[in-house]
């Protein structure tokens, strides 16, 4: 049971670390517009998809 003296402080530190990671993700703007991200695959220029759903470089349109 003595391991609790290590595990509980460790879990608390882990939570604080997680908060830090989330803060970084938030600061880099990843959560600014959640609605738009789903549609980006449709509008991203330079990418197209073949029938196997593999991304490849688009052929310039003539």
């Amino acid at each position: 049971m003595d391991s609790l003296y290590l595990l509980i402080p460790f879990s608390v530190l882990l939570v604080l670390a997680l908060i830090g990671v989330f803060g970084w993700a938030l600061g880099s703007g990843q959560f600014d517009d959640l609605e738009r991200e789903g549609g980006r695959i449709l509008s991203e220029p330079g990418l197209s998809f073949d029938t196997d759903q593999r991304a490849r470089q688009a052929v310039p349109e003539e």
Partner: protein, 723 residues
Amino acid sequence: MDAAAETSLRIGGMHCAACADTVEAALRRVPGVVEARVSASAQVASVRRDAAAAPVSRLVEAVRAAGYDASPDTAAQARAARAREARLALWRLFVAGLCAVQAMMLVEPTYLAAPGDIAPEYLRLLEWGAWILTLPVLAFSAAPFFAGAWRSLRQGRIGMDVPVTLGVAVAFLASTAAAADPAGPLRGTAAFDSITMFVAFLLGGRYLEMKARHRAEAELEGMTSRLPLDVVRVGAGGVDETIPVDAIAPGDLLRVPRGEAFAADGTIVEGRTEADESLLTGESVPRPRRPGDAVVAGSLNLGAPVLMRAERVGADTRYEAIAALMRAARTAKPALLRTADRWAAPFLWAVLALAALGALGWWFVDPARVPWVVVSVLIVTCPCALSLAAPSALLAAASRMAREGLLLRDIDALARLVRVDEVFLDKTGTLTTGRPRCTGTIVLAGTLAADALAGRASSLAAWSTHPLSRALQAARDGDGSVWREVREVPGRGIEAIDVEGRCWRLGAAAWAATVSTGAVRPADVVLSRDGAPLARFAFDEAVREDAPAAVQALQAEGVRVHLLSGDDPDRADAVGARLRLDSARGGLSPEDKLQALRAAQDAGRIVAMVGDGINDAPVLARADVSIAMGEGAQVARAQADGVLLSNRLADLVRARALARRTLRVIRQNLAWAAAYNAACVPLALLGVLPPWAAGLGMATSSLVVVLNSLRLTHRAPWTASIS
């Protein structure tokens, strides 16, 4: 004060209606400020000031000194401010949520295990672990509550954050005491999980509210920042040049590419296209536009590239007028909201008194439970639900109406609209399309030919925006006469002096023709020179398509519909008979109309007046509810409670239905808030309600109110509310 300027500021950091008062007071103290109004819901301050004595920087300083943030209200900065606010709110919510979950994990064993199962030293380890996790929640996540409470206390007011802050602080201190002294009177009552969870619930509720507000603001911005930044002008010699939008002058020829907004009011010169005017009129079907047709700034060119001639630019455009109206409507504080503000302070004092009373009572029963009863009472009472009840519903209804084409300048008109039982309609431009056609010129006297007289009348008519004047202009180009001392007499006509010093009048024969000839009736439109009528103009006009249905729907609701027209009595009678109006009177001056309106009001009727907004200004001002039609460039000058941008009378009937639903929703909200508080406060006083449940209850209660109000924006399609 000559240099009076109106400035919009975005205010950051406001959470309740009481904060708006604080900012208003701070702004009014700045020397040179004439008037300051703050909208808590839109988070915008609108300040009338002496531009020289009170620069914007001084205003921003004053707001910052009061503890809030301010920035000039331009769309880009507002967007950036919104993004910052959203990020910070999300981070606060995440920290509170994650810590709450972890604190729960650490506290859970004490719920599951029987007393004595866990050795005391491990219990203390768990308690201190939860204590550490509570620190970031208090220091960071709950900071807005502490800051808000501090602000209102410093201003000597009581705000909604005060009970919340007190509750959180008392709970934290009591829990810390319990953890620090396991043998003390508070032993075993540490509740770090409740504190963190309560803060997380509350932040979650505020986050959803903030999201809803941001969406509404972005919608309004989409409306008010529609114009392109640059336009292509066909310069002298036919060379295209790109100029900024504020450099357009009336008369410029502009190229409008497909998909772009028209930058000015004007007419199409070349090309056929379709214009999407939905943002300005609520009309969703694109309208065909051909050479000679009018286009309005802010509408979208959907069909093909066209060439247009700008006629009204900048602040003179209908678009700018509407945008200004919307800004004004956003900052005006409705009476219902003012009532809520008045009630908030006594309510909060009552909550504090109840908490104190509960503490006193429990002191004699079980002193260990005193902190938790106090916390539950402070947290469970939800003034937010009470104070949000009316404004959230009104805002939802107003934005819905604006989307459908009825722009309310005065939100209080919503409540009055429901009680209206008598409607007075103007004829020209209201019941009829307002686009009469000139069908002929009849020469009455003099040597000038009909065509020359029409040309002279057209050049004089160019000084007026009256529908008949526009019809004359449309029928024939002006002959280029030079006029001076042009004067327009509302309801009568227009007069001016020509180069030879002779006085010409164009308007109702009763006014224009002082020399009687017997050949004209008083309401005929004549052109006269020195009082002698020279020509009479014949017009016809069409009743609006939706007018019969709208009149019938109003009458079915028990509303009496009357026609008050300055036009010829015969024509008024004809329209009245065709639409089966309750009465139709013609040949009225604005004074006569006012008389008729007063008579109805004296008889105890609630009167709505619908008119074109300019000629009917005194009548509109006197009516209980006044609606101006949105056609024409002068909507901004119309001192009406609302502007019917769609120009559809049927929308008035639908607006009444929506107003009725709005009042119902407000009553539901108030009933819910009252019932919630009445049920939960006794439970909290009895010590039955744990603090976490109190927090959940409070957050849910305000969410219920906001969601109930949002039904107004979404449910029941607009068209379904009229048969």
